[in-house]
């Protein structure tokens, strides 16, 4: 390439830079006008790698836009530092409020405090913060979710053997995840109350391939394994493949059926339950997280009023009732976990049914 190229490029570059600078001035004015007309409420997501998080982001987007606010989502992809940096970047846009699903309860506190200094309301969903001032937290008791999944399996083992005994695989997820760690702890603490249940607690990092290999290895070691549990539905497809490969993908009531109970209540779990292969899924409600957070921000926090504590009731949601309490960071609504089984799987209020059937968020 000759130096003529660079002379031409330099001229072209300078022309382009001038054009962009002119565009910047126009763009700045346009953006400024737009920002002035609509409150800007961004959402900081922890990941888009799982259906649950995709549905949750969609729910926040719909709820924010339904208020006539400007929406933007950023995705930290499970990188805690990146999430803190994204919060810092969003602060520069002077948002009216921010909503986030934090990756880490404690690490997010420093970011929340920066928003507190500017008196920008913070709404936290799914994973509670451990410090800082949060206008409203709407989340799920992951420990209780794990305990409830264990109770479901114990009930089914009792029905199968006449007493709570048998062998159970807990294909637990990455311990770096606060939610998965708490689910593991809740599940195991409940199981340990029953000495006749042999628990195989094995790490899978929450990845499909590891769930598959761990399940295959456990089935090789314990061919008559009674039950399998995963802390999330999406990666448990690996468990399903392993059960199919070992001839254990049987319907409830069939000989060789492996009791299968998960957490999250995704549409794929609905399908497995409807088809008769899965016994139950302990559900949380990401749509309610988003809608209630936006509701509280709109009614109270963005008017500089505290969110009132006390009973919360809304028949729009399957769980219908909860209580807003005072937590370390401010008002908090912990939505009670509930069990999805063949009796209620078609209820239209289930988040999986809304996301999949009404919104058309299909599994890719």
């Amino acid at each position: 390439m000759s130096t003529e190229f660079f002379r031409t490029s330099r001229r072209a570059f300078l022309k382009g830079a001038a054009a962009l600078a002119a565009g910047t001035a126009v763009g700045s004015q346009a953006s400024g006008a737009s920002a002035a007309s609509k409150p800007f409420v961004p959402y900081s997501n922890k990941s888009l790698d799982y259906y649950f998080f995709v549905a949750q982001e969609e729910a926040v987007k719909r709820a924010v836009e339904a208020q006539g606010w400007e929406f933007q989502a950023v995705n930290a992809n499970f990188d805690n530092t990146r999430q803190l940096q994204q919060w810092q970047n969003l602060l520069l846009k002077n948002p009216a409020a921010i909503i986030s699903d934090p990756i880490d309860s404690q690490a997010i506190a420093s970011a929340i405090k920066r928003f507190n200094k500017k008196k920008i309301p913070v709404g936290i969903i799914d994973t509670p913060a451990s410090d800082g001032g949060v206008a409203i937290t709407v989340d799920f008791d992951n420990y209780q979710g794990g305990a409830m999944a264990a109770e479901q399996i114990i009930k089914l083992l009792t029905a199968r053997h006449g007493s709570p005994k048998g062998s159970v695989l807990n294909a637990y997820g990455a311990l770096q995840s606060v939610a998965w760690r708490l689910r593991k702890e809740g599940f195991e603490a409940t199981m340990q109350k029953y000495p006749d249940i042999k628990l195989y607690s094995r790490p899978t990092e929450g990845m499909i391939d590891k769930m598959q290999s761990v399940t295959l290895a456990t089935l090789a070691e314990v061919p008559d394994l009674d039950a399998v549990h995963a802390p999330s539905d999406t990666p448990s497809r690996g468990i399903v493949t392993a059960l199919q490969q070992k001839g254990r993908w049987k319907k409830v009531g069939e000989d060789g059926h492996a009791i299968f109970v998960n957490i999250d209540g995704e549409p794929i779990a609905h399908q497995w339950i409807k088809d008769g292969y899965m016994d139950a899924s302990v559900a949380q409600d990401p749509i309610a997280y988003a809608e209630i957070t936006v509701e509280m921000l709109s009614k109270y926090a963005m008017k500089q009023q505290p969110v009132p504590t006390g009973p919360y009731e809304n028949k729009k949601y399957y769980w219908e009732r909860g209580v807003i309490t005072d937590s370390l960071t401010g008002p908090s609504l912990i939505i009670p976990p509930f069990v999805i089984n063949k009796d209620n799987v078609d209820d239209k209020r289930m988040w999986g049914n809304i996301a999949y059937n009404e919104w058309g968020l299909k599994y890719k």
Partner: protein
């Protein structure tokens, strides 16, 4: 050493400046060596078009803070690269050393002692890597990959999946303090940047680093103790990783059980984009600074423009790809001259 300069085997230990420049060739050389800054300027303008806040002082401060940890890691990883090695454990070392430092605070060690212990822990890991690569002749790519996994596992084991957040205010002061509205933390990066620049440009050690990376055999023949230079490069690299770990912990006011893992690829990309050769012997801190600012600008810019979040990582990756492609053209044209 001039920007992007290299040391050829025949002049390994003696050259301190790039080739003589004259006329059109020097203009071309200058353009080639500074392309990262043009790319950076273009991105700033583009992001500014999409979002007026991008041109504010606040955003400049924000980018400087965010560039600090990545910059320190980029400086760290550039040293093994300059001696024709690589250290994949840098980002994990950052997380590991910071937790070591924080834990010592539980034993009555003052905050500065904890910070020092953490930084030294990073240097010790670097020393171990250097010894493995030079004395045991382990391939640095594999040895540091193993070390990365060990350190990640150690961090998880030490924290048991929990986040360490009970650090005293003095310990996290440097990550929060400002002079007026200007954060102090970036000064640490600037000091380290200047220190590395002085070492590389003004000292025998710096010349030896370039020489070893340019041609180890020729360096040996010239009397340079190659293994010692490589060990020093790894130790300094670990030291910088330790400083980066302390800075990140101070800024976040927390140490998570996977602290720093997300930095690895970016910390390798930054110096390479800035002109540090993966084959050793070529690169400068000015180029590293350009690479760091470019990557930080891409990340900060994409966060404040309203792209659909599904596409942001892809767009970020494409921008990095373009930056690397431009750099490759630069290298090719430089070589062809």
């Amino acid at each position: 050493m001039s920007d992007g300069a290299s040391v050829k085997p025949s002049a390994a230990a003696s050259r301190t400046a790039g080739p003589a420049r004259s006329g059109r060739s020097s203009t071309l050389q200058w353009l080639l060596q500074n392309v990262v800054w043009f790319w950076l300027f273009g991105l700033v303008v583009i992001f500014g078009v999409f979002n007026p806040y991008f041109f504010t002082i606040n955003n400049m401060q924000n980018i400087m803070v965010q560039a600090t940890v990545l910059g320190l890691l980029a400086l760290a990883i550039s040293l093994p690269l300059l001696v024709a090695e690589i250290d994949l454990s840098i980002a994990s070392n950052m997380g590991f050393s910071s937790v070591i430092g924080a834990l010592t605070l539980n034993y009555g060690v003052p905050w500065w002692g904890g910070a020092l212990v953490g930084i030294l822990a990073g240097a010790v890991v670097g020393l171990f890597n250097g010894l493995c690569v030079t004395r045991l002749r382990m391939v640095s790519l594999i040895e540091t990959l193993a070390m990365m996994i060990i350190l990640q596992g150690a961090l998880l084991a030490i924290t048991e999946g929990n986040t360490i957040a009970n650090m005293p205010d003095e310990y996290t002061w440097i990550g929060q303090a400002t002079i007026g509205t200007w954060p102090i933390m970036p000064l640490v990066f600037v000091v380290c940047l200047a220190a590395e620049a002085i070492i590389l440009r003004r000292t025998v050690l710096g010349r030896s680093i370039y020489a070893v990376g340019g041609n180890a055999a020729a360096s040996t023949a010239a009397g340079i103790r190659v293994d010692r230079i490589k060990i020093i490069a790894f130790v300094l690299s670990g030291l910088l990783a330790g400083i980066a770990g302390y800075m990140l912990a101070a800024w976040q006011m927390a140490i998570t059980s996977n602290q720093g893992e997300g930095f690895l690829l970016y910390s390798i990309a930054a110096p390479i984009i800035g002109g540090v050769s993966v084959f050793g012997g070529r690169g400068s801190v000015v180029g590293i600074l350009g690479g760091v600012l470019l990557l930080t600008t891409i990340q900060a810019g994409l966060a404040v423009v309203s792209f659909p979040s599904f596409y942001v990582p892809m767009i970020g990756g494409l921008m990095i790809f373009v930056a690397v492609a431009i750099d490759a053209i630069r290298v090719r044209m430089s070589a062809g001259r």
